[in-house]
Subunit: 382 residues, 4 copies
C-alpha cells in the first residue's frame, strides 16, 4: 500500500502540468493522462482485481483517494470519478449478467462514460419521495417520462441510470426503480448543460438538464428489483459520499500546502514574508487541525463501511458528509485570503475549487439533511 | 430624496431583464441602460450638479447606492461605477483645469471609461511602500516603467491613472505620484485580462495586467503635486471603500429578498415549503440582522465623511470595510444554501456574486490591513 | 444631554471602588451609591420629571444606559434596574390610581424593590400560552395558585407582579392577567434562591423560585383588564429588551476598553506587549466593529420605539435582542482570552459578566424565539 | 479493556449522586468515593502495575479517561487527577530513589496530594523564559524566592514542585530547574486561594497564590539535573495536555447526552418537545460531529505518544490542545442554550463546566501558543 501511495503521489505531481490549462478551459487530452495512470498501475482502484481494478478495501481506497483528490484530474485519470464510480459499483453488485456485459464492462475499461439522473428541477432534492419522473410498463418495455437536472457528465455519456417511479401504489420508499437508458435511445434528450458558477462546461465537466419523453427501454434494463430504487440509491450514495469526502481532504490538504509555500515566499515588507504574520500562521494551524480531524473521521467511517456495510455506517457517513464539506469550505476560504488577489485568479487552483466545491454542502444531500439523520440517531439512542 | 430612491427602485426592477443575459455572458448594450438611467435623472449621482450630477451628499448617495447595488449593472448604468467614480472624484478635486477638460469631462459624461493602475503582481498589496513601478523625469515628460495588475476595466479604457515612484529619495509615503496616461500612449500595453474566478472577462467587466515600458507622458499629466500619490490614494480610497460597502448592502439585501421569496415558494413536502424549516428561517433572520447592522454602520461612516472629511472618518471606514465585506460573504453563502442546487447555477445572481464578491475581503485593503488600522486607533486612545 | 452623560461617566468611575468587593461577595451598601446617584441628578432617568425622574426619551436613555451598563451597579444605583424598571413603566401606564399610590410610588422613590413572576419551571419559557399558574375569582378576591421561578430579585421585594391564568375559556393569548401581590400576603412563599452559575445570591442579586398557594389578593390588584396579561407583557418586554441591549453595550465597551489597556501593559517578551500580537489586535478590532454595529442598531430600535411605539418597533427589538446578546458573548470571550488566566479570576469584572450574561441569549425570549419573530416578518413582507 | 471500561461506566453512574451536592458546594467525602474506585479496580490507571496502577498504555488510558471525565469527580476518585498525575509521572520517571520513597509513594497511594508551582502573576504564561522565581544554592540547600499563582490544589497539598531559575547564566531554556518543596517548609506560604469564576474554592478544588520566601530545601530535592526544568516541563505537559483533552471529551459527551435526553422530555407545545425543533437537532448533530472528531484526534495523538514519545508527538499534542478545547466550549455553549434557563442553574452540571472549563483554552498553553507551534511545524515542512 505504501508503494501504491507513493506512485500515486508522483503521478499527481506529474499531472500538475495539465491542471492550469484545464482550469483555464483549454483542451485536455483525457486519454493521455488515463494512459499514464493505467501504466502506473493506478487504474480503477475501487474495482476488484478480476474486473481490472486494484481490489482495495474502502479504507485503503480512502488513503489513495486523498492523494488523487489533490488534483481536479486525479480521479478522472484513474477511472474512479463520480458519477461513473457509483454506476460501476451499483452494476457490479446488482447488475444482471447481461447488464454487466453491456454497461459495466465498457465503463470499467474506460471506453465509455455514464451519468445518473435523479434530481428534478421542480422537486426538492432533500425529499426524494416527491420525484415525479415515472416509468410505465408497456409490453416488455418501460416507457419513461421524466425531467431531470444536475445529471453530471451526461454530456458525452453512453448511458444514464435514471430514477423513476414504477410503483405509484407502493409505500413511498418502494415506488421507484433504477433503470438503464442508453443515451441514444429515442426520447432521451440532453436539453442543455446548466450554467453553474459561471460555466456551462462540456463533456465530463458539466451538469446537464435532461428530458425523457416516451423514452422506451426493455424491462431487462431494470437494475435489481422493481421498487428497489431507493434501497439501491442508499447503497450507491453511502460509498459515494465517502468518496467525495476523501477527495475533499485531498483538495484541502493541497490548498494548505500551497498556502504554506506561498506564505513563506511572499514578501510583505523588505524583511518579512506573509508567514511572519500571526494571523496567517493561525489560519494555517486551524486548517491543519480541521483537515486532520476530517481525515481521521473519514478513515473511521470507511472502516465502518468495511466492517458493517453501508447501512451500518449510515450515521458515520452522514456525519462526515456535513463535517468534511464544512471543513473544505473554510480551508479554501482561508487559502484564498492568504493568497490575496492571486487567490482570486486562475493562476492557482484555489479559485476553481472555491467555485466548484461550494456544491459540496449541497449535493448528495445538503448539510441540513445529514444533520437531521445524525440527530435522529442520537435521539433514538438517548 | 424619497422620490429619487423610488425612481431608482423602479429602474432596478426594469434592469432585471438585462441581468440574466449578462451573467450568462451574452451581449450587454450598455448605452441602452445608460440612456434610460439618464432619462430618469439618475446619472452621476455622486457629481455636483454643475458637472451633470445629482449633487448628493455621501449620506444620500449611500442610500441610493444600496438600491443601485441590487443589480450588477446598477452603478454602471448610472456612471458611478468603480474605478471611474474614484477617478472622477480625484480629478474633480485635484485635477488641473486642462486635466479636467481632457480627462474628467469625457468621463463624467460617459463618453469614455478609465482605469486605475496601482497593484503590482510581485509586490504585496497590503504594503504600498513596496511598489516598484517608477516614473522618471526626462525633459518635460515622465517616462514610466511599471508592471501592474488588477487594473480593473483597463480593457476599453481611454486612460489610466498610474501610481508610480517619482521621488525615490523621499520618505516612504512621499515617494509616489499619480499620473494620467492615455491608453494609446506608446509603451502602454494591456498584457491580458487576468482570468479571475474562471472568467477572463472583457470590457468593463475585466481585470487587466498592464505594462508601462518607457511610456512617456507630459509632466502636466501629474495629478496634484509630486510625491502626493499616497495622500491622493487615501483621499480616493476612503470614499471608494464607502461606495463598495454601500453596493454590498444592496447585493446582500437582494440576496435576502430572493431567498425569502424562494423559501416561500419551494415545496419540500406536499404540505410544506422551505420557509417552514426553522433552520432556513433563522438563516434569514441572521442575514437580516447583519445587513441592517451594516447599513447603519455605512450610513454612520458616510455621515462622518460628510462632517469630518475622509481623514477624520478613517477608522469608521476601515471598520466598515471588513465588517460589511464579511457580512456580504455570509449572507451570500446562506442564500446559496437556501437555494440548494439552484443557487449554484447561473439562473439566479447568487452564483455571480458569490464568485465576484469574494474579492470584497481583499481589494482596497484586505480585512487584515483594516483590522490593524482599527486596532491601532483603539490602542492609541486607550 | 452631553452634560448628563458626562456626569454619568464620572459617576461610573467613582463606582469602580465598589465593584471588586461586590463581585467578591462582600457587603454592598446600596443606599450609599444610590444617595450619590440621586445627588448627581441621575435618579430614575426613565421616569417622567413629575414622577421624580429625568424624563428622557428612549433614545436618550439608551445613551445614558450604555454608560451605566459599564458597571454591574450602575442601573441599580440609579433605580432603573430590571425588573423594577419594567414594573415602574407598567404601573405608570396601566396602574390604577390606587395601585400607583400603593405600589408605584414607593418603587419610584427607591423605598422598596419588586419582582416579576412569570416563568414556570415545568413550562417552556418560549411558549407562554402553556403557563399553568392560575388566579381564580372568589368573592372580591383572586385566589392565586402558581409555581414560578427565575423571579429575579424576589428576595427582599415588597411585592410581585404575577402572570396567572384568569380566563381559561378565552383564546390562548387572552387567558392571562397580571396581578399585584404584596410578598407578605399569606400563601406567597419564596421557596429558595436558585443557584445560578455557582451562586445562590441574595437580595437584589438573586433569582427565586416562588410558590403561590391559595394566595388571596383583592381584585383591585389586577393591572389593566382581565385577560390583558400578554398584551401588557409585550408592552413591558419591548422596552425591557432595549434596556438590556443598552446595558450589554456598556458591558462590552468596558470589556474592550480594559482589554486595550491590558494588552498595552502586559509584557510577553522583554521587548513586546500583548498588543504587539496581531491576533490580539484583530480581536480588539472585531470587538470594536461588533459593538459599534450593536450600538447603532439599539439606537435605531430605540428611535423606532419613540416614533412608532413598542408594537411598531417589534421586529427591530427582536433583531437587537439576539444580535446584541451574541455580540456580548463574543466580546466577553475575546476579552477573557486576551487577559489569559487573569481573565478567569475575579480580579477583573470579565469573569462576573461571563457567568452572569450567558443568560442574555436566554432571558426575555431566547435567540431562537426572536429569530423566528424576525423571520416571520421578513417572510410576510416578501 | 472492554471489561474495565464497563466497570468505569458503572462507577461514573454511581458517582452521580455525589455530583449535585459537590457543585452546590456541599461537603464531599473524597475518601468514600476513592474507596469505591479502589475496590472496583480503577485506582491509578496511569501507573504501572508494580506501583499499584493499572499499567495502561496512553491509548487505553485515553478511553478510560473519557469515561472518568464524564464526572467532575471521576479522575479525583481514581487518583489520576491533575496536577497529581503529572507529578506522579514526573517523579516516577525522573525522581531519585529517595524522592520516590518520600514523595511519589504517598502520592501514588493517595495518602497525600501535591501541587505544581510554575506560573507567575506578573509574567506571561505564554513565555516561560521570563519566569522570575529563583533558587540559589547555599551550602547543601537551595534557597527559593518566588511568587507563583494558579498553583492548582495547593490548598491541602503535602508538597509542591516549583519551577525556579537555578542557572541564570545558561541559555534561556536551560536556566530553570524543578524542585520539590514540602509545604510545611518555613518560607512556603499559601497566600490565598484565588477567586476564579466567582469561587475561592478550597482543598483540591482551588487555585492558590503561593509565595516562597527564603524557602530552604536540601539540594537532593532537585528533580533530575540542574537546568533541566524546561525539558521536564515538556515531558510533563505533553501527556498532561492529552489527559486534559481526554477528560474534555468525557465532559462534552455527557453534555451532549443530557441535552439529547432533555430535548426529548421538555414539552414546548402540547404536542411537541424541544427535539422537534430543527435548530435543536442540528445543534446536537454538530456537537456529535465535533466530539467524534476530537475523540479520534486524541486517540491518534495518544497513539503517537505511545509510539514516538512526547517529543515525537509534539505537534499532534498542540493540535488537539486548541482543537479539543474549542470543541468543548462550543458543545457546552450549545448544551446550555438547549437547556434554556435550566442550563444556567446548578441543577445540571453544565453551568459548572461552563465556568470551570473556559480555562481550557488558556491553561497549559493558550490556543495562540499551540497554534504557533503547529504553524511553525507546517512551515518548516513546506
Amino acid at each position: 500500500m505504501d508503494q501504491l501511495l507513493s506512485v500515486a503521489r508522483e503521478f499527481i505531481v506529474w499531472l500538475e502540468a495539465y491542471e492550469r490549462p484545464f482550469v483555464n478551459d483549454e483542451h485536455l487530452d483525457i486519454e493521455l493522462i488515463r494512459h499514464r495512470a493505467r501504466s502506473l498501475g493506478l487504474w480503477a482502484p475501487h474495482l476488484p482485481k478480476d474486473h481490472g481494478g486494484l481490489g482495495l478495501s474502502l479504507t485503503d481506497f480512502a488513503q489513495l483517494s486523498e492523494i488523487l483528490g489533490r488534483s481536479p484530474l486525479g480521479h478522472l485519470a484513474c477511472n474512479c470519478q463520480a458519477p461513473d464510480i457509483g454506476n460501476m459499483e451499483l452494476l457490479l453488485e446488482y447488475g444482471s449478467e447481461s447488464q454487466q456485459r453491456q454497461f459495466f464492462e465498457p465503463l470499467a475499461s474506460g471506453q465509455v462514460r455514464s451519468c445518473f439522473a435523479m434530481t428534478e428541477p421542480h422537486q426538492p432534492g432533500s425529499n426524494p419521495t416527491m420525484l415525479a419522473g415515472k416509468a410505465e410498463k408497456d409490453g416488455s418495455d418501460y416507457v419513461i417520462n421524466a425531467h431531470k437536472w444536475f445529471a453530471s457528465s451526461a454530456d458525452g455519456s453512453a448511458f444514464a441510470i435514471v430514477m423513476a417511479k414504477t410503483n405509484p401504489e407502493a409505500k413511498p420508499y418502494q415506488q421507484y426503480s433504477q433503470i438503464l437508458v442508453p443515451t441514444d435511445t429515442p426520447g432521451f434528450e440532453r436539453v442543455r448543460n446548466i450554467p453553474v458558477m459561471g460555466h456551462v462546461g462540456s463533456g465530463y465537466f458539466s451538469h446537464a438538464e435532461v428530458r425523457f419523453t416516451d423514452c422506451r427501454v426493455p424491462q431487462s434494463h431494470l437494475i435489481g428489483e422493481e421498487g428497489s430504487g431507493f434501497a439501491l440509491a442508499q447503497q450507491r450514495l453511502g460509498p459515494g459520499r465517502i468518496h467525495h469526502c476523501m477527495r475533499w481532504i485531498g483538495i484541502a490538504q493541497r490548498a494548505l500546502d500551497i498556502s504554506c509555500t506561498y506564505a513563506q515566499s511572499r514578501a510583505i515588507t523588505p524583511d518579512e514574508v506573509l508567514a511572519d504574520r500571526q494571523v496567517v500562521r493561525h489560519a494555517l494551524a486551524r486548517s491543519h487541525a480541521e483537515i486532520q480531524a476530517s481525515r481521521l473521521m473519514v478513515l473511521d467511517a470507511a472502516g465502518q463501511v468495511d466492517r458493517l456495510g453501508t447501512r451500518g455506517a449510515r450515521v458515520a457517513i452522514s456525519t462526515i458528509k456535513f463535517f468534511v464539506a464544512g471543513m473544505l469550505q473554510r480551508v479554501l476560504d482561508r487559502a484564498i485570503q492568504i493568497h490575496g488577489a492571486l487567490g482570486l485568479t486562475d493562476e492557482t487552483l484555489l479559485s476553481y475549487w472555491y467555485r466548484h466545491e461550494r456544491a459540496a454542502r449541497i449535493y448528495d444531500g445538503p448539510d441540513e439533511v445529514h444533520m437531521d439523520v445524525v440527530a435522529r440517531d442520537l435521539l433514538k439512542k438517548s
